[in-house]
């Protein structure tokens, strides 16, 4: 388990959390918001450990004491987790929190509630938490985690110190991939650029099969430009076999056409996602005009939307490809 200062990226957030502990300015409610896979929960756990630690060093946990080891084993009696049961966090779960909140902490100086995916609280549950979140009993800290803070009530938001986790910059991702996941420099670089700033996605991108799929998607784009309706339908049939894979193909196609668009507009190779095939991008970018590329990307987005709304994969792909061949 990582210490606060070992978190990949988010230097400013880490600094301010360390200061918080060091200067004793711990607020009673935090909201850690940001896209999936950037390290919200990792940070929340490290922060909780620093708050519970019996002998913190410079605001960070010592990692040795009993409290630290208990947090690491997830069996600290003053660390509570709330997470969706089924598809949402129900009012009864929050009532459970309110029941234990007034008690003194068992052993540490604080009680800490970590609410995972807090945006999934039902409206009733969220309202139920409001008063307690505003003025909780002494030495209680709430840490709400959310990938979609915009779905939270504004009354919840305004009661928390909002900490926005951003997508990780490429350089941090590369460093993290090399240090913590043992990737080579070159692989780490590709994965980091393609991940859109999420460590979770970067790890998926780094796996071998993903590379293969990416190459296939590029070939697909190339062929679609030239072939007729029959071949397009055939390719649609082939691509749409597996829905999960089909969705990732759509993402890759989006990235690909985005690259063409960006290259067309700026002519700069550094801005591309697909850094390993700059020459192909340069060649292909000349074959489309800007309006067409915009249209294509929008079309792909619409198809993805339809698939997420449970459209027939094959039909959706056929419609898309027939659009793309023109």
């Amino acid at each position: 388990m990582r210490l606060l200062k070992e978190i990949t990226g988010h230097k400013q957030i880490v600094r301010s959390l360390l200061n918080t502990v060091l200067w004793g300015r711990v607020a009673h409610a935090y909201l850690f918001a940001g896209p999936a896979g950037v390290g919200k929960e990792t940070t929340a756990l490290a922060f909780a450990r620093a708050l519970l630690c019996a002998c913190p060093v410079d605001g960070d946990a010592c990692g040795m004491c009993r409290e630290c080891r208990q947090v690491e084993g997830r069996n600290h009696p003053d660390l509570y987790f709330v997470q969706p049961s089924g598809s949402s966090i129900k009012i009864d779960q929050i009532r459970g929190v309110l029941r234990v909140a007034p008690y003194r902490p068992y052993q540490g100086g604080r009680k800490i509630f970590i609410v995972r995916q807090s945006d999934l609280m039902t409206r009733d549950a969220a309202n139920c938490l409001l008063k307690t979140l505003e003025e909780p009993p002494a030495s209680t800290v709430f840490i709400l985690l959310s990938g979609r803070p915009q779905n939270l009530l504004s009354t919840i938001l305004s009661r928390c110190q909002q900490v926005f986790f951003k997508s990780l910059p490429v350089s941090d991702l590369i460093q993290g991939l090399i240090d913590w996941h043992g990737l080579g420099e070159e692989d780490a670089r590709h994965a980091a650029v393609l991940s859109g700033g999420s460590m979770g996605r970067a790890l998926v991108c780094a796996s071998g099969s993903q590379q293969e799929e990416r190459r296939e998607a590029h070939n697909l784009a190339g062929q679609l430009k030239e072939c007729g309706p029959c071949e397009a339908l055939e390719m649609a049939g082939k691509t749409s076999g597996n829905k999960v894979k089909a969705l990732s193909v759509l993402d890759m196609l989006t990235c690909w056409y985005r690259d063409l668009l960006v290259y067309r507009e700026t002519g700069e190779a550094e801005l591309l996602f697909n850094l390993d095939c700059v020459d192909i991008v340069g060649r292909e970018a000349g074959c489309y005009d800007t309006a067409r590329l915009v249209e294509i990307i929008k079309e792909i987005g619409a198809t993805k939307h339809k698939l997420e709304a449970n459209a027939n994969t094959r039909l959706a792909f056929e419609a898309l490809f027939l659009h793309l061949i023109r």
């Binding site: 300015r25 309202n127 409001l130 505003e134 979609r148 951003k166 507009e265």
Partner: protein, 576 residues
């Protein structure tokens, strides 16, 4: 004693400290002073505007034993216990977690007891919108005529969820969003009191991000203090909020105004590298552009002052045309929405910026308008050469081959009606009609250029027959008569095209694309052998007049190509 967040530590304790709600505090103060307090109040308004605070201050004012005017003293026993939240006479109920009818029944039972120390028993029911409808109804009678010693204060952010019967029994007070200037004033007080040094620019940023909620503002200040210590700079606030400096917004608006897509995309890459949240950037951008728009419409408005210095805002606004600005605001607002639901928000933003820079790629009315203007401009330059050619050329005699081609299909019934019609249509368009020959203005080159468009439309409208036309080319044009060439040997395609219905459709299609009434004839063209491509088809003209082969085998061969194979006698035996 553990640390208390700024917004709890600095919760106002008198009416005078409540900021930005003068219309409410004055009324309440007068009511308290005159002893005309009501028995039920409803406080509503957005988050962080002072509802709960006002309720607590009112409770203190009513029960204070050493009141000075209308303000509570905050030093008598009653005030102190209320401040600490342990007063028996002031009951603060969290209606969101105690929302059932049982809790309300409990309340009704206990409300009859007279107060122990003060003059009144005061019930503060917070988040009252969450009560169930049974609970609301159970409350009605008590709310209308409570015991003389009881006062109820309901507080909520969502008054529209309350039944009318509740609303009509309360004195209702609407809390307004707090103005940025007021927020800044209060922040200065708090910062001074907590010994924090805060930059002016940082205060402006906080006021902007708080969006009318003082609690939000104080939360951010709190974070700033945790981040930067006692000295808080604008840069600190930017990194807490993930927002970008005003000059980045200004730069982007400049690029959008000038249509410099490349620069705009480069700026996005720069922001990504700095680890900025692009979604937040889109929202900020929309807000910034909106402020520009407001400034443009009403130069006296103060919308821009939370963003940048007024002079700079005016200069930025001047770079845009008004419709252009409205369109860009529209694009950005929609982008922010779209980015919320996208796994690749960066791409959505980039796409939107490309759209915002090139009006021609959008689909909304404004960009269609821009496109239309461009087309009109082009049309002006197009029509002039057309008129010229007409003057130069004599009225042409019809091409021999066109007559020939028309022979094989109902020539007499088709031609006479088309001529008058054509005249009528073209008279409206141009004076040139008088000469009876407006047809000259379309050259073969123009048709060739637009041929792809013709075929595209065909494919969209008549998919089944479109494949027949896929390899055709326009050969000769004259007097709105067009000869379309089919590749040598594609008899099937040509015959299909020659069918009356299809032919009529095709003529009508040409009319739609190029204007006027068209006649069409079809023939074959040779591929490479014919020396000049222009002449090839003309020489090949008589092809359709070839006598149709007599034998069935020859006919099949003509239609489908191929060669005749003689089967061996031996096979014949084994096969049959």
């Amino acid at each position: 004693m553990s640390y208390l967040a700024l917004y709890r530590e600095w919760r106002p304790r008198t009416f005078g400290e409540i900021i930005g709600q003068d219309h409410i505090t004055r009324t309440l103060k007068n009511a308290v002073e005159a002893g005309r307090e009501g028995h039920a109040y409803l406080f509503c308004g957005t988050r962080g505007t002072g509802k709960t605070t006002a309720a607590k201050v009112l409770a203190k004012a009513l029960n204070c034993t050493r009141r000075e005017g209308a303000e509570p003293c905050n030093s008598c026993d009653n005030c102190k216990t209320i401040n600490e939240g342990i007063c028996v006479d002031v009951v603060e109920i969290d209606a969101a977690s105690n929302r059932g009818i049982d809790e309300i029944r409990d309340l009704r039972e206990k409300i009859n007891f007279s107060p122990t120390r003060g003059r009144y028993r005061i019930y503060i029911i917070d988040e009252v919108h969450m009560l169930t409808s049974e609970a609301f109804n159970a409350l009605l009678k008590t709310l209308e005529e409570p015991p003389r010693h009881a006062i109820m204060i309901l507080a909520t952010t969502e008054p529209h969820k309350l039944p009318m019967t509740i609303l009509s029994r309360c004195q209702r007070f609407n809390f307004k969003r707090i103005l940025p200037a007021d927020i800044i004033r209060r922040l200065k007080e708090v910062a001074g009191g907590s010994r924090l040094e805060v930059e002016e620019e940082a205060l402006r940023l906080i006021a902007r991000a708080a969006d009318g909620g003082l609690r939000d503002a104080l939360s951010i200040l709190d974070q700033g203090a945790a981040f930067g210590g006692t000295n808080i700079t604008a840069e600190d606030i930017h990194s807490i909020l993930g927002t970008v400096r005003a000059d980045a917004l200004g730069r982007m608006s400049g690029y959008l105004a000038a249509g410099e897509t490349g620069e705009a995309l480069r700026l996005v890459a720069e922001l990504t590298d700095e680890g900025k949240d692009l979604r937040l950037f889109a929202r900020e951008m929309a807000g910034y552009l909106r402020a520009l728009l407001l400034g443009k419409i009403d130069p006296g408005a103060s919308a821009g002052e939370v963003w940048d210095e007024p002079g700079r805002m005016t200069a930025r606004a001047a770079e845009f045309a008004q419709e252009g600005l409205a369109r860009v605001v529209d694009v950005m607002v929609r982008t922010e929405q779209d980015m919320k639901n996208s796994a690749l928000p960066g791409i959505v933003l980039e796409l939107a910026l490309v759209k915002a820079c090139h009006p021609v790629t959008g689909e909304d009315v404004a960009s269609l308008y821009a496109r239309l203007e461009a087309v009109e401009e082009k049309l002006k330059t197009l029509t002039r050469p057309g008129v010229k050619t007409e003057k130069v050329r004599p009225v042409p005699s019809p091409l021999p081959m066109r007559g020939g081609a028309l022979q094989d299909k109902a020539k007499p019934p088709v031609r006479p009606p088309t001529l008058p019609e054509r005249r009528e249509a073209s008279r409206e368009v141009a004076v040139a009609t008088e000469t009876g020959a407006p047809e000259e203005d379309i050259s073969l080159e123009q048709i060739k250029e637009s041929w792809g468009r013709v075929l595209d439309t065909l494919r969209k409208e008549r998919l089944p027959i479109s494949s027949n036309y896929s390899r055709t080319i326009p050969l000769v044009v004259k007097n709105r008569g067009l000869v379309v060439g089919f590749p040598e040997g594609d008899t099937l395609g040509r015959e299909m095209a020659d069918q009356t219905e299809n032919k009529k459709y095709f003529e009508e299609l040409l009319g739609r694309v190029f204007g006027g009434q068209w006649r069409v004839a079809f023939m074959f063209y040779q591929k490479v052998e014919a020396g000049s491509p222009g002449k090839g088809p003309v020489q090949k003209g008589p092809a359709p007049e070839e006598p149709v082969p007599k034998t069935p085998v020859a006919d099949v061969k003509r239609r489908f190509g191929g060669e005749e194979i003689n089967l061996d006698d031996e096979y014949k035996d084994t096969l049959f």
